[in-house]
């Protein structure tokens, strides 16, 4: 394990900037998001708790060009851009890093998704443990520790004046090896780090028992009355899904220009929208309660059945950003317990 004084962080990031496009928490666009680091400002160490826009945006952007087309005579010419340069995300939280590990499963499945996977491969994640979790956070209930992560390449822990830096993956360890200006952490540093991790864990105040949740949901699937009650105050906007670090659903759309050219893009989509599944003849999820049910069950029932993991990391964005304070933890707590028949 290595360490660095917090005020030295800019020098460290500058060093990494030589080989990577460095992204770090930023408020340049009004709300916190991962954005290209400006080469000096490390003020985020003070204000940053988590981003509003989840870092999945770095790997799965809300508007991603798939390829371009250009009309040539009677036909078309297609061109695709090469993958982008290597990037390094500094400061990703353990919940969001876990979220990427979770959605990796779907993008690796059956037909590998070249766009997602190449970005993923080209991106180095440097985690930063939480010291001030929000009151909406419930990561510990989802198997995530706010202070540590195995889902990043390098993990940093804030021990007050210093950042402890640990290599997690081979890629991360290699970078750490190459990085100059770091001090070796002592055993005392190690125990201070352990203390910080433990403290972060203690600061999580929201808890959810997910035991048997998939089974409960499966049994309640046809309980229309329950779902109508749950859905009543939902306004079916896309806030919770778009800003969820594990929501990966997308749409594909073309944009064209006057000169017969254009591009195909993919953009985030949401199962909260009626148009998402609407077909000319009918819509399997026309009703609000059906869409709310889809959102909840996809995360806590279908995804676990497919990939053996719940598609939620307890980041709490859906709770704190919801315009009507629709709280997923309350919903899950109110799923009727299985009745023995």
């Amino acid at each position: 394990m290595k360490k660095i004084k917090k005020q030295e962080l800019a020098r460290l990031l500058q060093q990494w900037q030589a080989d990577y496009t460095v992204l770090a928490p930023s408020r340049a666009t009004e709300v916190a998001a991962m954005a290209e680091w400006d080469g000096k400002d490390i003020g985020f160490l003070e204000w940053y708790r988590n981003t509003v826009i989840p870092p999945k945006e770095v790997i799965l952007p809300n508007m991603e060009e798939l390829f371009r087309f250009q009309k040539e005579g009677a036909g078309y010419r297609l061109t695709a851009a090469a993958p982008e340069a290597k990037q390094l995300v500094f400061g990703i939280r353990p919940c969001d890093a876990r979220a990427l590990a979770i959605i990796d499963l779907v993008f690796q499945d059956t037909y590998p998704d070249d766009y997602y996977l190449s970005r993923r491969q080209n991106t180095l994640l440097v985690g930063l443990g939480c010291t001030r979790p929000c009151d909406s956070c419930f990561c510990t209930s989802m198997g995530v520790s706010p202070g540590e992560s195995g889902d990043v390449d390098l993990m940093c822990t804030d021990t007050g004046d210093e950042l402890m830096i640990e290599g997690i993956t081979a890629k991360g360890k290699e970078l750490l090896e190459k990085t100059g200006g770091l001090a070796e952490a002592s055993p005392e540093d190690g125990s201070r780090r352990q203390e910080a991790i433990e403290q972060a864990r203690q600061r999580i105040t929201r808890h959810l028992d997910t035991g048997g949740i998939a089974e409960k949901l499966q049994r309640s699937f046809e309980d229309k009355e329950f779902w109508e009650r749950i859905a009543a105050k939902c306004i079916t906007c896309g806030v919770c899904t778009f800003l969820c670090p594990t929501c990966y659903c997308f749409d594909i759309n073309d944009e064209k220009t006057a000169a017969g050219g254009g591009a195909r893009f993919r953009n985030w989509d949401s199962c909260s929208f009626a148009a998402y599944t609407r077909m000319p003849a009918e819509n399997p999820r026309e009703q609000k309660w059906q869409r709310v049910r889809q959102k909840v069950c996809h995360k806590y029932e279908f995804y676990p059945r497919l990939f053996n993991i719940i598609a939620c990391t307890g980041c709490g964005r859906c709770i704190r950003l919801c315009p009507v304070n629709w709280d997923i933890t309350e919903t899950l707590k109110s799923v009727p317990a299985p009745t023995t028949t």
Partner: protein, 290 residues
Amino acid sequence: MAITDISHRQKFLADGNAYLPHIAVIEKIIDETPDTRTFHFNFKDEKLRREFTFASGQFGEYSVFGVGEATFCISSSPTRPDHLEFCVKRVGSVTNALHRLGEGAEIGFRGPFGNSFPLDYLKGRNLVFVAGGIGLAPLRSLIWNAIDNRQDYGKIDIIYGARSAADLCFKYDLDAWEKDATVNMTTTIDRQDKAWSGRVGFVPAVLEQVGPSAAGAAAIVCGPPVMIRFTFPVLEKLGFSPEQMITTLEKRMKCGIGKCGRCNIGDIYVCRDGPVFSFAQIKGFISGEY
């Protein structure tokens, strides 16, 4: 930024980027009904044309560049590989754009995607095809496939209906099957119609009248959702087990490869795990939401 020309890639999905279409040329357009057309197409690239293979029941994603993509099954049979076909009803922006294209126009094609009709299970059985409207499109791939391998199958019953005589698709096929002594063809329309001298009645009711035996048979059903919902109970009454009833589901799709999420039903993605399912697989969810 490096730009690569990908117009002439010769790799199919298995080892290529599944989002990039291959360019295909529309060779022929057939008006099926006032709002439905069949397009014959072929890949622009010679090598792709030779090497492309698919199975009955699989689908593709078809692009009109600048408008978008839509999902259609391949409606021709792999036993007749000189060209490929798909059938389009005019309902939205992409389908309208396809209808505006003429012969010689270039489109994009991604596929083939999805599973296919279970030929191993069907071989040696009597086949009962039940279709409504444009729902015949996916089945006709299998029907021609079976006819071209006639010795592999038992009796073939086809029960096909549409709202009116004008809405019957693939009339040239209906004629051919009518004339084929090895096929028992029944065509019906929903309501009496001056231009029609044949049978009148809804598909499920006509199916009951025809009453094919369930013994050693399999029923393959495709049509509007409401027809499918009423057809399964009739088949049950005729003695078909849920495993003997096969259908192909239509859902809104974008990616075709089990990622974008909209065709998700429980833990399946219709595009990746379907679109062909037995009633045994889907009866759990067909009663409720789907």
